[in-house]
Symmetry: C4
Subunit: 279 residues, 4 copies
């Protein structure tokens, strides 16, 4: 976020903004580290609360911890709003909604009882970890992965579509073959089994017992085994291509892209390649 | 499908043809969307029908829905025949047979009883989804995948052949080692187990109990773990190669293929590369 | 096998040789097809024999079939010896031993009783399928895969070595954590479990029950999930490299290898590349 | 380790050093082989000791074997110290600590009883195998893999981080959906199940029984099935890039890197590439 954007804010707001949203200053760095720890600890608290033995013994302690974190995150939420150059935009941003959602359950717990099931929603706080990571150089890797997946979305959709049709049809066949026995009590159940099988998860809670069913299952496994190669190929190709494109030089004279990296002159118009064009 | 092909049809036929087979016109687009929804809903209906609890309660409603969809698809089927420039060719095309097959079971249900097992055949309607997708730009991805798999078919067949021989031989060995106990009651069963294991599905319905069996099983798993890399490598290589071939320029003068993309002149005959040759 | 090698054989031997070892002549092709079917059927027979229900009902028929195939393969074996230009070499070749081994059990069955366990050895006949495939163009794919795996053997050995050490150490840890309970009754068993887990097979016959065990197991799974990528990367890289090397042109003047395919002149010495050097 | 480093040692020390640390001399080679066998056998002994049946019968023999190996490894440890040019450095090196750690349990067994659980620590001796491998040409492969994994660490961390957040959130959802039944007794347990599922291990000790749970599980499997492609793509890309970088030539005049292998002249400054710059 550039400086001029926040220039209309008063000094103390800019200070807070620098600490909460920024990451160049020592304060900003420190804040991020603390926030990261706080998030992870509060999520840990949510988990422990769900373990019957632990909840029974440390009910009070956990409640206290929960309230401390809720208080801290509430403060942070308010600070973000007042220090943000565009408060409304922040509140309705994805991250803003996450921030709010992770606070509600605790406050709701005061008025309504038995919101335990609801309280686990707080574990979506985990998503906020990404905001902190966003400020780091890890994001480079993330963006590369993201763009690789994005540019191969068509292939992936086609692939998943084919897989889904396959599991539906094979699930239907298994339902016919096993005759509603051995756990194949309905087509949806059989489809569930097909997915468990083609993804090579294989719980074994449902498994064919007739020789016909086992033969079809074997076929499905071999297929699943073979086509796992397809998404891998797609993504690998995209990542490699992304790599090459990133490393490629661009000619600012004739606009040719994808020139071999380290080349000094454009192989089309012969104009020199500025190093700034090269990664 | 080009215009001239349908020119011998009367106007109203061309209109229907445009809507059913085409996808450029608003009508064609709308029709595809409705068809897609109808197919998915009718398949959903087939699934729900197979769930005992639901079938018991909503037997009548489901029957009604089934008849509505069967009626709609019958209309579509007839419309396709009369609006097709080559009706016979359509009827005996793969898609034409699928269209018909997915209608028969319902009509058959009138005359013959207990065709419930048969009625699930209607879920092959799902295959018709692909026809609609065929009209979309997703098909580009599909073709790329298809050609990648096709051009690596020899390697894949060799790979699967080796895997099959491996599972037969190891299945036989396990049958000997486990002595027909712990579920290894016959060689086919043992082979089934081998496939379940080498594909890393691992139901656990059959599992070795003797230390010899477990040792051999471990070996099989490590092998399966290592050779899963092979199909992946094959397909990845093909996808990358396909990518390069697509991006490659072709010289229309000397016919050289696989020229580096963005090259201005053929590196063989020096004639200029038209941009039309470049993707 | 070249003509001159067999020239010292009498005409009828050459004829047999052509049919059995060759695959250019119609006779040779026909023989291979029949042999392939015979092998697959005889292996099928071995399998069926191992199924108690089937063996009980069709004991006699299966015995007859077994003897027919044994007789046929014996004939073939003798024919191979007499028609081979170097009989001794054939007999002690890998394929020759396989041929013999797959015959012995049946003959042994006459003199000794209860060789049922032994009789399943006949299923190694399956390996003979490869000889027939060897004559086909599938072998191209096989060789490519073979060379890819061979040239990456060092990396694969390092990888498997690391995996084995990992499973031993984690197996030992699990044995300590689970305290010999929940199926982790000994270190070898725990190692077996580690392999079942890291290869993502996951039978579930042994599974951690303590939270410490489950945490370590989770770590092991994530590791296994991440490092499955390594062999894939290795093999893919080798396949792609092999591809490039195959497609690369070679300069016969200065001996430079790995020239870009379709290049007309050597980029080192400028001498023209003969098309014969290009695949 | 270069000669001059050990020159300050007396002759007999150098002799020992050559045998223990070196691998050029016949003595060094022989020592490595023996050490490798000794390590593997001693680890085998640790394993067998953990098998109740075997330990009960061969308790005495195993103890003897343990003491023999402990004695041998103690000798080796001392020899390493006295023959090392920098004893202190060796003792506190990773390998030195491993050497010591694998000795302690046996000696400790004399004074303290019931150190059986502790004694399994000796299996970390296995790590010492790597030292021997370090001396071999296998290390080339290892380094390539290592550097590939290292240079893709950012992407891998991002990937694992995303996976971990995913399993936590889906684990929480499953805990809500299955309502603490069917093994989903707490969020940690549900997360454990998510990991078991997304890594396609699928023990089946915990499996969803409600249709909502099974639907979410199916989604998780498909996701896990799709994103397994990501690490593979990352590592493959790195391995291929590493390959290219290794094969690439470097210009010592202008310092340009990544020149196509086998090129005679730098494509930037036109100065000749020495073959020494090429792998």
């Amino acid at each position: 976020m550039k400086k001029e954007e926040v220039s209309h804010l008063s000094n103390w707001q800019q200070k807070i903004h620098e600490i909460i949203f920024g990451y160049e200053t020592a304060g900003g760095k420190l804040f991020d580290v603390f926030l990261l720890i706080a998030i992870l600890m509060s999520v840990m608290e949510v988990m422990l609360e769900s373990v019957p033995e632990i909840d029974a013994r440390f009910d009070y302690e956990l409640k206290v911890v929960e309230w401390i974190f809720t208080f801290l995150f509430s403060l942070e939420y308010i600070a973000r709003i007042i220090s943000s150059p565009r408060p409304i935009q922040y509140i309705f941003s994805f991250m803003g909604i996450i921030d709010l959602l992770s606070l509600i359950p605790t406050y709701l717990g005061i008025f309504i009882d038995g919101t335990h099931a609801l309280s686990v929603i707080r574990s979506i706080r985990l998503i906020r970890v990404f905001r902190i990571l966003k400020l780091t150089h890890f994001m480079g890797g993330a963006q590369q992965l993201g763009s690789a997946l994005w540019s191969s979305r068509h292939k992936i959709i086609v692939f998943l579509g084919t897989v889904l049709c396959l599991v539906v049809i094979i699930g239907t066949l298994m339902y016919m073959l096993e005759g509603g026995k051995n756990g194949f009590t309905s087509i949806p159940k059989s489809i569930y089994w097909s997915i468990v099988t083609i993804t090579t998860v294989g719980y074994g809670d449902i498994a064919p017992a007739t020789w016909m069913g086992q033969t079809l299952a074997s076929a499905l496994m071999i297929i699943g085994y073979a086509i796992i190669a397809v998404p891998t190929g797609i993504v690998t190709n995209e990542i490699i291509r992304g790599e090459n494109v990133r490393n490629a030089a661009v000619c600012h004279n004739c606009g040719t892209r994808g020139l071999p990296s380290h080349s000094n002159y454009c192989l089309n118009c012969g104009s020199q390649i500025k190093f700034s064009d090269q990664k």
